[in-house]
Symmetry: C2
Subunit: 113 residues, 2 copies
């Protein structure tokens, strides 16, 4: 069970986000994923491992080659946290607005009196 900590820190690295983007067209081998990045194959292999442990990638082995694909399920917890946080904020804003409106109404009354 990958935690939200893992997911978010996995996503915080640009190379890893690039790898995810590379998988938009479907599964890719480790070497294919590594090719565009100017760093060793080993380094990319490690990035893949991090993404995998974060639940963002799944690996399918076929002989000596490993095929990686993106698992969107890995994103949901993080996405939910962000949306919840925004929502809590908008509730706050709404409350504020309501308070302002109530105040306006009071002003109105006082003005008419």
């Amino acid at each position: 069970m990958p935690s939200i900590d893992h997911t978010l820190s996995a996503l915080a690295d640009p190379t890893r986000r690039a790898i995810i983007a590379q998988l938009s067209t479907g599964e890719q081998r480790v070497s294919d994923l590594a090719e565009p990045h100017h760093m060793s194959l080993n380094a990319v292999s490690k990035h893949i491992k991090v993404l995998e442990e974060a639940g963002l990638l799944v690996r399918r082995k076929e002989g000596r080659t490993h095929y990686l694909s993106f698992d969107p399920e890995g994103l949901t917890e993080a996405a939910n946290w962000i949306e919840r946080t925004r929502a809590m904020w908008f509730r706050r804003l709404d409350a504020l607005e309501a308070a302002l409106l109530a105040d306006d109404a009071n002003q109105e009354k006082r003005g008419k009196r």
Copy 2:
């Protein structure tokens, strides 16, 4: 201009997410934010700085005390990245499904022949 890297790695720390949660009820002083965490005030002060630099918090100084509040705007870039990524995946799934349906149709034809 805080990058998405900054935002995501800021959010990857549980203490920092907790701080954001603490701000759901409105602005708080540094010491108030620090109080529930079992670590030094200095440590929390640093976490706040990280969140601030990531564009997730804003600081208002009033005399010697600093009031922090959450800035939901800081979340949008990260939220967009995640949503875009999910969307790109669902497009892929849709394409796949379409292909399968087309295949089914072919099977159907062949069956009837």
